[in-house]
Each structure stands twice: as C-alpha cells, then as structure tokens.
C-alpha cells in the first residue's frame, strides 16, 4: 500500500473492483496494489457478498483473520480469498461488536466449505460464534479447561494467566508492565 502503484499497473484490479461493486452497492472497495484488492462489507451482508465473489471466480479461501480492536469495541473479521483465475488476493473486511454475546456471525461454510475450519479457529481464539456451523462446540486446539477464555483477544492478560496456571514467579518483573526480551 505504501508503494502507491495506483497507475497503469493496477488497471486490471480496478476493473475487477468496479465489476464487483456494480453488483454490490452496499460494499466499498479499493485497490491496494498490484494483485491486492480489498472490500469493506457490513456484517449482515457478508453471505451475499461472498456468494457474489465465489460466482466471480474467487475460488480459494485462504483464511479468516479476526483482529481485535478493543478501543473501537469491535472485532474485525477479514476473509482472505485468492482468485486462481484473476490471480488476485482479496480481503473482505467486516466488523462486529466484541462483546461475547453479540460477537456472532452467520457461517459461510456452505459457500466456502473450508471456512468451517477457519471458523472453528476464530471461535476458539476470539470467541466469535458462527451460527449454523455445527462443529462450533467440537474440541479444537485449546483444551477443555480453557474453554471460557479467548487467548488472542487483546484484554487477555497472558502474564497473569501464565503465573496462575504454571505457578512460576521468576523471570517476571512485577513493576514493568511493558516487557521487552
């Protein structure tokens, strides 16, 4: 994005963005650089938008990245999809509230079946519940004793947790809140 190659190099990408936006007026889109585009979509329209993308030859879902923004009170979900046909990477950004009971999304596993795995991952680490994914409660990476905590959220105090769980006190400086190793 810093390279600012918005010139003739990314005409192809701009055409794709225009084509998608024409069919989805609720979304915003832009070209980041060559072979990288991104869209911002409201959370309730995500299924429509991903269906549209799938129809437009965006075949491979690479990952669902949740990013926690506690200052905004929101969790950002980034659906990263690669198009083998267009040779373009697309990020679909959407934001949902970060309170546990409100952090719910409709599942997209019927559009991209692999999303089931990524959704389980996001649920385990961020507590985002994907409605319609029956494997949500299935044990995933974390152990059952830790089911009520979501370690990748920003308000998860890792040091306190480690001290409590593993009962070690050395190597931790109590006065330093910002430690660098």
């Amino acid at each position: 994005m810093a390279n600012g190659q918005e010139g003739g190099m990314s005409m192809r990408e701009q055409a794709i963005v225009d084509k998608i936006l024409e069919k989805a007026p609720y979304a915003e889109g832009k070209v980041r650089r060559e072979r990288r585009i991104e869209f911002t979509v409201p959370a309730e329209r995500i299924r429509d938008f991903l269906t549209l993308l799938k129809k437009n030859n965006f075949e491979l879902m690479l990952q669902i990245t949740p990013v926690d923004w506690p200052n905004d009170g929101e969790i950002e979900l980034i659906y990263q999809i690669w198009s083998v046909t267009h040779r373009t990477h697309v990020m679909v950004r959407t934001r949902i509230p970060r309170e546990l009971e409100k952090a719910r999304m409709p599942t997209v596993k019927d559009i991209y079946p692999v999303a089931e795995t990524y959704e389980r991952d996001a649920h385990d680490f961020f507590g985002v519940y994907f409605e319609g994914n029956w494997k949500m409660e299935m044990p995933w990476i974390l152990d059952d004793t830790e089911q009520d905590i979501y370690p990748l959220r920003k308000d998860f105090d890792m040091l306190q947790y480690v001290k409590k769980k593993y009962k070690i006190l050395d190597r931790f400086d109590e006065n330093k809140d910002n430690y660098v190793i």
């Binding site: 299935m138 004793t145 890792m158 480690v162 769980k165 593993y166 070690i168």
Partner: protein, 189 residues
C-alpha cells in the same frame, strides 16, 4: 532361587547399550531424530532404535516444548513403559520454557510433572548435543544414578498433585470420554 543381584552388572550393561526410544515427537526437536537415526550420526551404533510401542521402550525423549494437551499423553505413555525407564528432555523448552517462557500454552518446568534424568540445553540442540546427552545417560545408568523411575514411584503423590493442579481432578476420565459425543452415529438421531 538364583540370586539375580549377582547378574546386576550384566543387566546394567545391557540396559545401557540397548536403549529403545518411544517414537513420540512431542515438539520441534523431532526433526533432528531422522538425522540421528541415519547415516550421518547413526544412533544404532549404540543399540538405540525408535520403537513404536511404549511397552517395549526404555528411553522417553521429550523432543522440545510440551503443551498441556501433549503432557497428558506424555504422562499416560510414560506410565505405560515398564521399569526401569529413563526420560531425557531435549532443548531448553522443557527445562524452563525457553522461547515460550510467557506462552499461555507451554509447560514451563517439565520435571514438576514427570521426573527427568538428563536435560540437553539449546534450541534446537544439535545432534552432537543429543549424543552427548545420551552418553551422559549411559554413564548414569552405569553408576546407578539414573533413578527417575524410582523417584516417580516414591514421590507419586507430589507429581500427581502437580498434574491435577494443571489439568484439574479426574483429567484421565475426562480425556477418555471427551470424544464420545462426537463419535455417536449421526444417522440415527
């Protein structure tokens, strides 16, 4: 009856020269096991070989960091082994956490949960370091100081308390029953 203590030196020699390893890659150190077993370092010279069955194994190599989920399996596998058995921790992670000293999902001191005979420092330890550790454990078997399996029996209460503190009481049953709801026949529902 024959007094088997007479043969104890022979037994110690055999134990020393025939360490069978449990094939359980618990962490990233597992990637140095193939080089150790193949032509460049060739551990079979010392009579060591990887064995898929814990019942036959003597040496448990904890190859790298240990997560709580793995530790449950490590404890169960360790208890399956017949005595005398030896544990060698591989790398700095089982010793004190290593790079993962502040990780929420890595064990910091392995020797709180199972006894350890030899610890090899380094991340990741070179094959030469592992061979040095093996030499060390052979020496210890010879002078009878490799007694972690005795310690585990004597201090079982303490080890069990630490294990239960980490996993919660009754973790073995919980672990065994964990997958039952997901293995039911879905068609009949």
């Amino acid at each position: 009856m024959v007094d088997w203590r007479l043969f104890e030196p022979l037994f110690e020699f055999a134990r020393k020269r025939s360490l069978w390893i449990v094939s359980f890659c618990t962490g990233c150190g597992g990637i140095e096991m193939p080089p150790l077993m193949t032509s460049r370092y060739d551990l079979e010279r010392f009579g060591m070989m990887a064995n898929p069955a814990p019942r036959m194994a003597d040496l448990f190599l904890i190859t790298g960091y240990v997560t709580p989920k793995t530790l449950k399996r490590i404890i169960i596998t360790y208890e399956l082994q017949p005595d005398p058995k030896y544990v060698m921790a591989h790398g700095s992670c089982p010793l004190n956490g290593g790079v993962y000293w502040d990780s929420y999902n890595a064990i910091k001191h392995l020797d709180k949960y199972i006894p350890v005979d030899v610890v090899i420092a380094g991340c990741m330890p070179r094959p030469e370091a592992v061979m040095d550790g093996i030499n060390k454990i052979m020496e210890m078997i010879e002078n009878g100081t490799a007694d972690s399996w005795k310690r585990y029996k004597e201090n079982y209460e303490w080890y069990k308390k630490n294990q239960d503190e980490l996993f919660g009481e009754g973790w073995r049953e919980r672990e065994a029953r964990r997958w039952i709801p997901w293995l039911m026949d879905k068609k009949e529902e």
